[in-house]
Symmetry: C2
Subunit: 414 residues, 2 copies
């Protein structure tokens, strides 16, 4: 069977991606925090574009933008998140959102695809300015009003409710998933790492999304004068934190999986003055893997190292696991659709890989069949305004996702 | 020769110390930041007390309080600093100030001592809310108006000029040292460490004040995504900082002097988010010793370790020495006067020792003969509201200092 595959409009895709990057333009990237004026402007613009393709567009109570096909046919959600990290790149999130729009446009223009129902979507606050994955979590009913009441902006502390109010979303209902309306969910994203680039591949077919286990670790020593307190009697919480960081650096490579990663993103010493021995040290530590047994093994080793450090340093320690993200497998049929499309358009230049970053797809996957596609990040850079991807890869990724969407929807209609 | 030693009034000393701790009382300590209302109230109260002993009191342009004997005879300065660290102890600084007042009172009441000229003094901002040792540095002409113009409060950023203005000191001249007017300077202070307590001694005769060499060290790595960036390609500035901290902990004990101390008081990772590999890590590091060759050796080893860490971590590094404090020797004749007085009042319970903390005496010592006496700190605690000293030690210290002052002044008049 020879299918007439939908052909995306490469020039339109690239110019619309650049148009979208004007919302909150910052150097060669964007600064478009969730519910900022720039973010809301971009969401209203998206809703207009969805309407123009003949979709029923609406922005829900947490800012998710949906473009719903008018027919009663089950539709395929395609999208990502619209906001950016602070002073970050133009493609993180926006890429998948604009692929959804371009595929909806392409299908609407392609007579053979006109009956295939694509529902483009732009989730809100995947980046967690207020609540990580807020939009997709709201969609699958994984958040309640109490959590929204309590949430504040992690950078400046403004309550989420105030931000929603300013954004004109107070009182607007949140759209909740009705599983029977959807075939599933496809998301495209920049890889954000360098493995595609390093291996010479142009498309990553995501097999799973890693689980992130995150910890808050606090050492309590004895705060004292940095001159008069003899070395022998000190209980320096800062030295304890450094000891733990080094113990992790030595032990984790021996017990981690081949793709495990771990990071101490934050250390603070109290009171933090040059002439005072730190009485308290706080660390934020996380690791990621796509296999639960690996995550559990790293947890065990971490707790051993924390205990050993406490004994060695004479400091008390508190360790709290603040996040226990499950790894999520992507749907195998959807994966195959992406892989087959990649084989047609980029033979020999695609690879199956887990995602080491979190994505809305892992949330939606709890309720719908879902899969993801990656395009390369130049130099592996993301969350920075220099983030970029070759134009040819931007176009290729969209064409592959369009083909995969068609395959999935035709399989559904058979 | 049997001298009629001046006998201090122990009850008065203790009750006046407690009276003074009412200025900015905080739990069992005090919160009396430089130029706060409580600090200025305490200085005006001191000036009144000086006047009441027949001294000519004045508060100079940076808040130093002087009680000058009316005669033309050369006088002995006795004092310390009046302000406290934030939410800190009742004796740090205040002890030496109140010893000066008690000794002036005692000499005024002791016919045999009436001709001995004691000038009590209370320096401003030794603790460095604005400029460390501001008062004593001003007194020896080690600060100019430009530095005062630029200084701001290290905690809340208020300009020093504004604080002086609010304190009623704008336009008041700064009193500058005329060396010929003074015999020298004596200062008493709590030890702030635990060596007197641990060794069962009640008086420390300070031989020297350590030099503090302080460094700002910054590692620059590559900020990146904590999920998608493989461990093998990371340049994690936070790991570099922890590596250096541990290298110091291992190497310094092998090259340090027996009383050297070193401290990393502050570490910050940028951007400090749990899912971002730190691109920059800043450390504040210092060490102290009373011997210049030891300080120089530690400097050399630190720079080696920094270099090794940069190579090992792949991060660039900047190291800047921000403070190069010289150790200061105390005057041997003054030391002997303190030691002899200690031998009379606390036989077998005094010891010669360097000061591991900075004190105004090291500033004044650049221009006048100077010496210091320590009393024990219970549990070695200071810069905390639980700081304390046994009443018996508080009384003993003042009596020893009074005797030493008499010896010094009689030696001068011989």
């Amino acid at each position: 069977m020879v299918q007439l595959m939908p052909k995306i409009n490469a020039g339109r895709l690239l110019s619309e991606l650049r148009r979208f990057a004007q919302f909150g333009a910052y150097r060669t990237g964007v600064h478009r925090p969730t519910y900022s004026k720039e973010d809301m402007d971009s969401r209203h613009w998206l809703a207009q574009q969805y309407e123009a393709v003949g979709l029923q567009a609406h922005i829900d109570g947490v800012g998710n933008v949906f473009g719903m096909p008018p027919s009663e046919r089950r539709s395929l959600l395609i999208g990502s998140h619209a906001e950016s990290e602070n002073h970050a790149g133009w493609l993180d999130g926006a890429l998948g959102v604009m692929y959804g729009l371009e595929i909806a446009r392409t299908f609407a223009e392609t007579p053979d695809c006109a009956g295939l129902a694509v529902a483009p979507v732009a989730w809100a606050d995947e980046e967690g300015h207020y609540v990580s994955m807020l939009g997709s979590r709201s969609f699958i009913s994984d958040i309640d009003e109490a959590e929204i009441d309590q949430a504040v902006n992690v950078h400046h502390g403004l309550p989420l409710r105030d931000a929603l109010n300013t954004a004109g979303l107070a009182g607007v209902p949140r759209s909740l998933l009705e599983p029977k309306r959807y075939v599933g969910y496809l998301e495209a994203h920049i890889e954000q790492g360098d493995s595609l680039e390093a291996s010479g591949n142009r498309i990553g077919v995501v097999t799973s999304i890693v689980g992130i286990w995150q910890y808050s670790i606090a050492f309590c020593g004895i705060q004292n004068h940095a001159g008069t307190t003899r070395m022998a009697v000190r209980k320096d919480a800062g030295v304890a934190a450094a000891t733990l960081a080094m113990a992790i650096a030595e032990r984790f490579p021996k017990v981690a999986g081949p793709r495990s990663v771990w990071t101490t993103g934050h250390i603070s010493l109290e009171p933090g003055a040059p002439s005072i021995i730190p009485g308290r040290a706080e660390m934020l530590f996380q690791f990621r893997d796509s296999e639960i047994p690996v995550l559990e093994r790293l947890d065990t080793v971490l707790r051993q190292l924390v205990e050993e450090t406490a004994i060695r340093s004479g400091c008390r320690v508190e360790i709290k696991r603040t996040e226990t993200g499950k790894p999520w497998q992507m749907d195998p049929v959807f994966q195959a659709a992406i892989e087959n499309a990649a084989a047609r358009h980029a033979p020999g230049a695609y690879v199956r890989m887990p995602s080491a970053a979190s994505h809305d797809a892992q949330v939606v996957a709890r309720k719908l069949r879902a899969a993801m596609l990656f395009v390369p990040s130049i130099g592996g850079i993301s969350h920075h305004w220099t983030e970029n991807t070759d134009d040819a890869d931007l176009v290729l990724g969209c064409q592959v996702l369009a083909d995969a969407a068609e395959t999935v929807l035709r399989g559904e209609s058979r």
